[in-house]
Amino acid sequence: MYKMLDGNTAAVEAMKLARVDVIAAYPITPQSTISEKLSEIVASGEMKAKYIRVESEHTAMSACIGASLTGSRAGTATSSNGLALMNEMIVAAAGIRAPIVMPVVNRAIATPWSLWCEHMDTMSQRDLGWMQFFTQNCQDVLDYTIAAYKIAENKDIMTPAMVCLDGFFLSHSMQKINVPAQEDVDKFLPQYELTNSYLNPQDPMFVSNVVGMNDYTEVKYQQKVAMDNAFDVIENVFGEFYAKFGRKLNIIEEYKTEDADVVLVCMGSMTGTVKYVVDKMRAKGKKVGMVKLVVFRPFPYKYIYEALKDKKVIGVFDRNSCLGGQYPPVCTEVIAALKGTDADIRDYVGGLGGRDVNPSNIEKIFNELLDIHSGKSYKHTNWIDLKENPMDSREVFKYV
């Protein structure tokens, strides 16, 4: 059935359809309507769940871990500084192997304070043992959230997942969404069952205890194996999802890459705009293509290699500044995936703090890449949407 939903309500709808048992959430812009709407529908009885009001995101995640260990399907959602405050329990959830699914509405972390979209919040959590899915539109938010529960709870995975949606560009964008029927979701996603570690007073065990140097490495290795296993599980779950709901989900999506001279790799809501620009430039005979990265953790390096191994010029767009790094995170991963090929890979940074990733900047990137491909030029504009004279911005005048 078609409904008009914004990205946040799509996430709520997915959590409801997934029959999440316990919700512990703390509101933060632009996530707030997720925690508000969930509390409303739990209070009205539309959703049968326990809603725990907490005083911080740190506690929200702690409560979700506890709930998960009792065999409940647990859920929360956050953004930006909220995710940063959760950091300690993010690591704990992954180590405890609590398969929590969390929509994260991407927003810059202060300072300077910004309410608006960038990927710095989730990128700063990327190596802590969570899976990460990045979404293009509101339908993606709903679909990948439902699928993420099934992947996270697979007994070979038992790893939490973030479903990332761009603040405002998705969280507050109203779109037409195909919402599946509850009974179909029930068949796709059966009730969560505990397998290994659990909290049960009748059968006590230590959870999250100190592990000496004899075992720590092996415990971490088990988490690595889960990540390595994830690709097969994700493919199976996406296959089942397609059979059930008729929508194709992807680990990476190749858009008109086959005969493309240059390809841009990117994530999130901008991938829709990039597809639009690809179509426009193709109509003018320019051979450009795009790879939409959906799964960022675990990083699908084999898929990226297969998609791009023969490409000579590749651009990678990071919505994250990565201060002090040689390359920003998505670009670093793409370079590593294509090690041994002779691809010329260019890093682009933009769309920070809500700055719009618009068609003219995307076109500029493609034209730069095409010029590099044809040998006309060697340079690219690293920070693509930087204003002129950036060092003069916000200059402090004293004694005037």
Binding site: P30, F168, H172, Q175, S269, G272, T273, N358, P359
Partner: protein
């Protein structure tokens, strides 16, 4: 593809209006739309805008509208608040304006829009709903441009506002539709 930009003041329901339009074309006309609200540090009375893209195909582009085909102004005073409502317009761009005042129309006629569709949406809303919030009524004026049918606009107004308030606002939309003039 039709690109629209709505301008108004915080509290006038500009973002809600964008939801009404996207609901109307998406649910009742089998087309597609996305809204991209430009949230700032809004407060009641501050200028706000929102972008909407309407198409027969699923909308891929997910960013602000820079070259609007239709501009809707919910409060004519907005041009006195440092807002350039004609930014990015082209020779075929249309203006939808909430006013009946000749002096205001005169000012707006200088922006170079191809056509102006206008009615006093605030007055019509006040008369029918008792509240001077023009977002329902202005949907009727907008429908006159042909971007959306008045029947689907009415249904969407009811859907977004809920039955009771929605019925009154749908009436306001119909009345504004019939009252719309063109210059």
């Amino acid at each position: 593809m039709i690109k629209l930009k709505f301008y108004g003041l915080g509290g006038q329901g500009v973002v809600t209006a964008s939801k009404i339009l996207s609901t109307a074309v998406s649910l009742y006309e089998g087309r597609y739309a996305i809204t991209v609200p430009s949230y700032g540090y809004e407060r009641r009375g501050a200028p706000v805008n929102t972008s909407i893209v309407v198409d027969d195909e699923p909308v891929l582009v997910n960013c602000f509208v820079y070259e609007p085909d239709i501009v809707v102004v919910f409060d004519a005073s907005i041009i006195e608040k440092n807002v350039n409502i004609s930014e990015g317009i082209h020779k075929d761009s249309i203006l939808v304006l909430n006013t009946e005042k000749a002096s205001v129309l005169d000012k707006y006629s200088k922006f170079g829009f191809k056509e102006i569709f206008y009615a006093d949406g605030t007055e019509i809303a006040h008369e029918i709903t008792g509240v001077a919030v023009p977002n329902g009524s202005m949907m009727g004026v907008l429908a006159k441009t042909g971007v959306v049918g008045i029947d689907s606009a009415e249904k969407a107004v009811e859907e977004v506002f809920g039955k009771k308030v929605g019925e009154l606002n749908a009436k306001a939309a119909r009345k504004a539709y019939e009252a719309t003039k063109k210059m």
